[in-house]
Symmetry: C2
Subunit: 284 residues, 2 copies
């Protein structure tokens, strides 16, 4: 299926926050004549999504989405696992795509009988904001999306998901769910832990206001994601526990090395260590 063939379709969005709302905005902007059905347990978010024109209709159950062509799950990762147990598409060509930040537990938890309906994906984009009002039409454009264990999805579902991500202007990367989770721990989950820890280290000082009054761009960038949703990140940390701990350990080792060089005044070695860090930007 080509991207242009996604014409007038019914798209169900479960979770009317930043990711789900941005998806609707992006598809509308791309000229897709889709009808969007939204489901969210938060009535305020439902009303906002309607008011902002993100969705055409609010439904009150997963059953009401069973005839959709595409159902996108943009809810916290524990919620995705719960929904995957209940979702039984009535249409054999329905494609269910989850946008969770972890993939191994989700991929493994989908019942065998419905596994072919699902495509497990992780769009590597977001902001620290959440809720329908945070939605941005260009959130996905030019960004990477990781498609995991794609061989477990049906042929129609594989093609539908690829066409959708192509229409969003995303770069598709394919890998196994386990590999994704190891990589995501380093590139996203552990950095979130660092940002939360940095914010708390400052907040516990005697006079955080006076410290924060001096914040320049570096601190603002490093602490931005410490604004992220605790309930969303609690689920991610739970689902990717082992990889997260490994990544935190790798980081702690480096920071300890830095601290030891400063304590022992090994300035030449410290300079070399910083030069190694500079080399990240040859590949980023």
């Amino acid at each position: 299926m080509q991207a242009e063939e996604i014409g007038l379709k019914q798209i169900g969005i479960v979770g009317l926050g930043l990711m789900g709302g941005s998806l609707a905005l992006a598809l509308k902007k791309s000229g897709s004549e889709c009808r969007f059905l939204g489901l969210d347990h938060n009535p305020k978010h439902c009303q906002e999504a309607l008011d902002l024109g993100l969705v055409d209709e609010i439904v009150d159950s997963l059953d009401a989405l069973s005839h959709c062509d595409i159902i996108v799950l943009t809810i916290p990762v524990d919620g995705i696992i719960a929904v995957a147990q209940q979702l039984k598409p009535a249409n054999p060509n329905t494609t269910v795509i989850d946008f969770g930040s972890t993939k191994a537990k989700i991929s493994a938890s989908i019942p065998t009988t419905t596994r072919h309906f699902f495509v497990t994906a992780h769009p590597m984009t977001g902001t620290e904001k959440f809720g329908p009002t945070a939605a941005l039409p260009d959130l996905y454009k030019g960004k990477v999306v990781v498609l995991c264990d794609i061989e477990k999805s049906g042929k129609v579902q594989q093609e539908t998901a690829k066409a959708l991500f192509q229409r969003l202007g995303m770069k598709m990367v394919f890998m196994g769910a386990e590999e994704h989770d190891r990589h995501a721990a380093f590139i996203s989950h552990m950095p979130h832990a660092l940002s939360f820890a940095l914010a708390n280290a400052v907040m516990r000082q005697e006079d955080p206001e006076s410290i924060v009054a001096l914040a320049g761009g570096g601190f603002k960038d490093m602490s931005r994601i410490a604004k992220s949703s605790p309930s969303m990140w609690e689920d991610i940390f739970r689902q990717n526990k082992t990889n997260l701990i490994d990544a935190i350990e790798a980081f702690e080792k480096e920071l300890k090395m830095c601290r030891n060089m400063v304590e022992n005044e090994e300035w030449k070695a410290l300079n070399g260590w910083m030069q190694e860090a500079n080399s990240l930007h040859d590949i980023l």
Copy 2:
């Protein structure tokens, strides 16, 4: 002295990089009819600064700047201490302003005989880029500048520095050099150590390219300052060693807390800890 009284003046810039170059661009943009004399040990940077119109003339010694109205030191912090020993303004109203990221060692190192010429300042701005080509006309605009131990500067020098920062559109904050260094360790120096450590943690993995291929905005923000100049940061870490170690310890304690909660599956406590981190943004 009012900002508008900084008319046709000679301004010496020692260090033709991001900070010095941006200062010249900002003053030119503000309509100041200043003549800029530049000094830098790097001949390539001297030529670039001339070619880019950052300075009007390159001089080859500190003596050639001794008649300037204002001399700005935008060089690494160890260099500032070395220059402060040699600089002997011939004009009693000359104001020497250093832009170093540490303040206590610099403030204490200036000879008593010339101390009144100096204003020790720290503009809380910058980017990870360096050299004259990195200069930006709006680098200082709307940002905070910390003026330290201002009572040790002469009256004329205090007024000149205030008028200069006012013209740059900066928000002035006054504090002692020791207090500045404690705050700067938390808001700038320790976050740089984290960013370098994060970059190295990823670079030491088996396949850093595959990890980095998944980088979203969060990782890019967190690793941006790991691109910073090692020689500049070596000096800063040396000069603010004790405060930096204290700040790293405070951070390590938080990260350990996070890791323990993940290991012990204390999800409710972890959620509360993240909520505390969120509160930073009430004051940032």
